[in-house]
Symmetry: none
Subunit: 215 residues, 4 copies
DNA sequence: CATGAATGAGACTTCATTCAT
DNA sequence: AATGAATGAAGTCTCATTCAT
């Protein structure tokens, strides 16, 4: 049962929903196909469970780890870095699965995924909102537009990784470098115009004063 | 033959590769299923042709229209705007198709798509390169990372449009406003930081590192 | 296609809906199973078509042949005789099929069968109504009760025939004798109380008068 | 074990043999599926036992209650009334089950059911025989034909009740009124015709034959 | 005795594809 | 060139039944 979920995750991640077969899942487990259906009412239900579990893990990791009391910049950097790591470590296929099946009008995956996606992006939205409230982020762009600016680039990078990484994974991504670059660029774009300059000047002045008074 | 490609594009765009059927393509055309196979070796070949044609159109439109002699900021804005328009007008389904089928290891879609994707992103890469060369864009980030920063957010927005637009298309995207916001944010993030800013950032980073290593 | 219906009729008649398999239908025809599904969308649709065709034949035969201008007794006798013949000649299995699947709450056979059953019993209902209107049949019992009095015994006899007749058909029913007995008993029970007596007396008197006047 | 039979009766009655599942029986009981197989060799054996038990109850009720010392008409009326009541109160589904599975050639239901059906109709046959012996029933029709005249209409009415009663049971049958009407009609048809009537019928028939042969 | 776990056998169905006409 | 007819291969799913514990 836990094994079925594990192997199901593997197969759905590798093949996508349509090309994954219950036959293959059963074979990899070394059990009969009927066994799979003893625990899950059908292929769809199994897949939904796989996706839900995976989302739950990610959501839990992000909600637990996000350093909410640090400056917005640090939070953003942490979010980008963690996001990339979580998805790359074991999840590019699942990422593709979710992205591919999230649409799919004929199937009602959407209804199942929607709440998960909301829960999953909630920490990011709150992060951005806090940043705007504290004046660290510009407020002339709506959150609705800021979200794709953060998630979009990461998804794109993950897609590239998935597309290439199948067979021989020619150049595994340097997660730290990539995350650093993304959050750097985002930070510059996201901050309140001239705010960084002001902040840095204040910072420099403070440090200088501290140095002076320390003798 | 041209009709088959037209209808094939429709169906593949609506359903994705796996859920599209040759039966439906033939029915929409009012011809027999066998006719489709008279002109195309099989479903895969037809799909490849559909994707290729579509890419060709987009590539042609972008290569022809990109205002290469304008400032980088104008080129970037044009690119974002055109990209969104091209994909939203008739192509979200095809976009999804390409994105979904780009991987799929067992299938040779990847080999076919790779050169097209390269040709398609080439104008953007050149645009960014020119911007860096002229000093309009920051040079501290590699092009490889800048590309997803531009394409990623747009894809994310398109996915959202596709995911929601299925049922009743509640709020069609305001292409101009969205494109404007994206390119504005990108512009801020991409432009070369001025000298004082760079110096201050370096200073801050140094202090932070020193603090960290001091425990 | 006509062959599929013919063999489908055979198999459904022999096995009933649940125990009939598309595999067997295909095998008896010497075609692949897929061929069956080329012409009918599914097992259910095929079965519905089989039943509908069969009903149509029976309804046509009864509507065309019923001697509406004869006395009610003759019509009743004809109806019983024809009914028994039609069902016994080739239809006991189908009769069983319809009777068995007419209920079956989970399936929507009912909706399909209801109009057919109405059309099929309509001639009988009209026959009985005419008989009541002309005073030949008693009017103290509602039509709703008279119908089962006619159809019920015949169905029961057919069931017996089906139950026994499977393997060796020990005693094939003598249709004429059986029909005669049924309609005789029904006639006695159905006619207006004392009406037969009155009618026969009138008849006898008329004949006598005619004889007398003829010298 | 007694519980299994009780629930088995429910499920087989509701679903029929093929559509009933051992899974459902076990679930309704709150026991494991294997438990059912601890007590019964298989689905078929359980079903046979269910039917046998039910028949035994009915047979016992009819054999015990039939007022053999009353006039034939009273016995007939009691039989019809009791039959309708027994079947309608809890048994339409089982009635349908027996009727449906009585045939089914490949299965050995028939062999099991045949003796039960005989025992079950025996009281009716004796009733009719006594009526004929005492001169209360006409003797010109064989018993073999009289039986369906009694049982047939009731079965038909029960089928109608089952077919309609599925959804909302629009008009529950008025057992007393229905039974009264049936036995009244049967009585009229079954009783010995009086002498004048018989003579007149013979006369009429002779005249008609003469007319027919004269062209 | 009761059962959790597993499964063999087989059902219906889909669909890309072939081929004679 | 167009197609009507047919199908092989594969997929999802159901269910009565077994057996070690």
């Amino acid at each position: 049962m836990r094994d079925i979920l594990r192997v199901g995750r593997e197969v759905f991640a590798e093949k996508g929903y349509e090309r994954a077969t219950t036959t293959e899942i059963a074979q990899r487990l070394g059990v009969s196909e009927a066994t799979v259906f003893t625990y899950f009412h059908g292929k769809r239900e199994l897949c939904v469970q796989v996706i839900t579990d995976w989302y739950d893990e990610i959501i839990a990791a992000i909600e637990a780890g996000l350093p909410r009391d640090q400056p917005a910049r640090v939070q953003l950097d942490w979010f980008v870095r963690t996001h990339l790591r979580l998805f790359l470590i074991q999840g590019t296929g699942l990422c593709a699965l979710v992205l591919s099946e999230g649409r799919s009008k004929g199937q009602d995956f959407g209804e199942t995924l929607l709440p998960l996606q909301r829960r999953y992006t909630a920490p990011l939205m709150e992060l951005l909102a806090r940043g705007q409230a504290s004046g660290e982020f510009r407020t002339d762009l709506p959150l609705r537009l800021l979200r794709p600016m953060v998630l979009g680039p990461m998804e794109h990078i993950l897609w590239e990784a998935v597309a290439q990484g199948g067979e021989a994974a020619p150049k595994p991504i340097d997660i730290d470098a990539t995350a650093g670059a993304i959050s750097a660029l985002l930070w510059t774009g996201l901050q309140a115009p001239d705010a960084e300059l002001a902040a840095l000047r204040t910072f420099q002045a403070t440090v200088r004063r501290a140095l002076d008074s320390a003798g």
